[in-house]
């Protein structure tokens, strides 16, 4: 995800003076991937800030949190409801709130409030795997509209409804027998790249 974020938003092109990025992490695996993404963004010289209101008790994910904290990545204590504050402070938002596994959490706080805010922001959103709040198969009308989608392993059904600028697939780790078993037909990854851009939808 951080590699595709970098490809979509190269450092020199960012509108704000500082390469700030807000990473919004949900309570489960999608959020944990967001934490890993934030750490790598930091290594790539971005300035990530994390909003992680509901922390997973999973020890692996707790360690991801520690790694971010020790790398001086700030954690917001609340997400401003005043959307202009977010628009002004950051160049982009990484949406790591809900993934393909989410069903019940969507309606529950704090996800519902977060998604309501994300629907109103004007800066680009990069969604991890599934735009949060979308039904993993049917998509969503009236949900968030990300600028960039990074499908993990393989695109989900709802990706067909994605209308943003760039769609990346990050799944070069899938063994061949898994690919065959699920008839995934992944694209060719160039060289040693771990992400590949799919043809833009429009």
């Amino acid at each position: 995800i951080p590699v595709s974020s970098r490809q979509a938003f190269p450092l020199p092109s960012l509108p704000r003076k500082q390469p700030t990025v807000l990473v919004v992490c949900g309570p489960a695996q999608n959020g944990a991937i967001g934490l890993v993404c934030a750490r790598h963004l930091r290594i790539f010289d971005y300035e990530p800030t994390i909003f992680y209101p509901k922390r997973s008790p999973d020890p692996l994910y707790r360690d991801f949190t520690t790694q971010c904290e020790k790398m001086d990545i700030p954690f917001l204590s609340y997400l401003p409801t005043e959307v202009q504050l977010i628009n002004d402070a950051y160049n982009a938002v990484v949406d790591a709130v809900l993934g393909a596994e989410a069903e019940a959490s969507e309606g529950r706080e704090p996800c519902a409030a977060i998604l309501a805010t994300l629907k109103l922001i004007r800066i680009p959103i990069v969604s991890l795997d599934v735009p949060s709040g979308w039904d993993v198969e049917a998509g969503s009308s009236g949900g968030i509209s990300p600028d960039v989608l990074v499908s993990l392993s393989a695109p989900k059904q709802c990706a067909r409804r994605f209308l943003g600028r760039q769609h990346f697939v990050a799944g070069r780790f899938l063994p061949y027998d898994v690919q065959k078993k699920f008839e995934l037909n992944p694209p060719e990854y160039p060289g040693t790249e771990c992400v590949v851009a799919l043809r833009a939808p429009r």
């Binding site: 290594i43 520690t66 020790k70 001086d72 063994p175 061949y176 027998d177």
Partner: protein, 258 residues
């Protein structure tokens, strides 16, 4: 240097009697003890897991190899690579590397004679096996056989914790590797070398992939390609140990030093 004013000792060259440093090698090279301390701090303070860092390290190695020896450059009919894995973490790095080499279109084969009874290594072995990477039951008896079958050998035998005598079967393996003509890519430290002083009559790899930071032995490396990998060291830790690492390009996980 007639006519050139003497500027005094080069401040980038600490100590004396070190001799010329290969270009691209940063000025502050961790000793064996410092390398171990950095590792410890990553695990205990930063709470990285061995799995996380090993995966990133192994990926760096495969990426560096792909840059220096692209599949099209092999003279063998397939881009075959022999990955020799030792009994510790360097061997684990080799297993990860083999798996990514397969993903990148190479045909790796692994020789892994001494396998730790730990879930981490068992998992890595399974991942390789499930990707149809063969594990040799025996090490090729002759250097000439290796030269015929493989276009490259990855040395993942010993790393920065290595000390003392080389135990079998690795002594014989290193002996054979010293007689092959195909290039060797060593992970972190050329196996058998003293981590600080090197080994004049030891393995002479064509490529070295230093992980985290080059160790002191790297000044004795005389091969063609020196890459830096393991792009996970937080800025604060780099400062604390005065690593002075040059910047990686963009989102690359490796940096070519020479």
């Amino acid at each position: 240097d007639r006519g050139c004013p003497r500027a005094g000792p080069d401040p980038a060259e600490p100590g004396s009697g070190r001799g010329p440093r290969p270009p691209g090698v940063p000025s502050s090279l961790p000793s064996q003890e410092e390398a171990q301390a950095i590792d410890q701090e990553l695990f205990t303070e930063y709470k990285f897991s061995v799995d996380q860092l090993m995966e990133l390290a192994g990926l760096s190695c495969a990426t560096a190899i792909a840059k220096a020896y692209p599949p099209s450059s092999f003279t063998t009919s397939q881009p075959t690579v022999l990955v020799v894995c030792g009994p510790g973490n360097n061997g684990g790095d080799g297993l990860v590397c083999a798996r990514h080499l397969k993903m990148f279109g190479y045909e790796p084969t692994v020789y892994y004679p001494k396998r730790p009874n730990k879930p981490l290594f068992e998992g890595l072995t399974t991942q390789c096996q499930k990707m149809d990477i063969p594990f040799l039951p025996e090490f090729p008896a002759e250097a000439a056989l290796i030269d015929e079958l493989y276009g490259l050998v990855v040395d993942a035998i010993f790393g920065f914790s290595f000390k003392g005598a080389v135990r079998e079967p690795f002594g014989s393996i290193l002996g054979t590797l010293q007689r092959i003509t195909v290039p060797i890519a060593s992970i972190d430290i050329p196996s058998g070398w003293d981590v600080e002083k090197g080994k004049a009559d030891g393995l002479q790899p064509d490529m070295l992939i230093s992980l985290t930071a080059p160790k002191k032995a790297a000044v004795h490396f005389a091969g063609r390609y020196h890459f830096l990998g393991g792009r996970f060291v937080p800025a604060a830790l780099q400062k604390k140990y005065a690593l002075n690492l040059p910047p990686y390009p963009e989102t690359d996980c490796v940096l070519q030093l020479t």
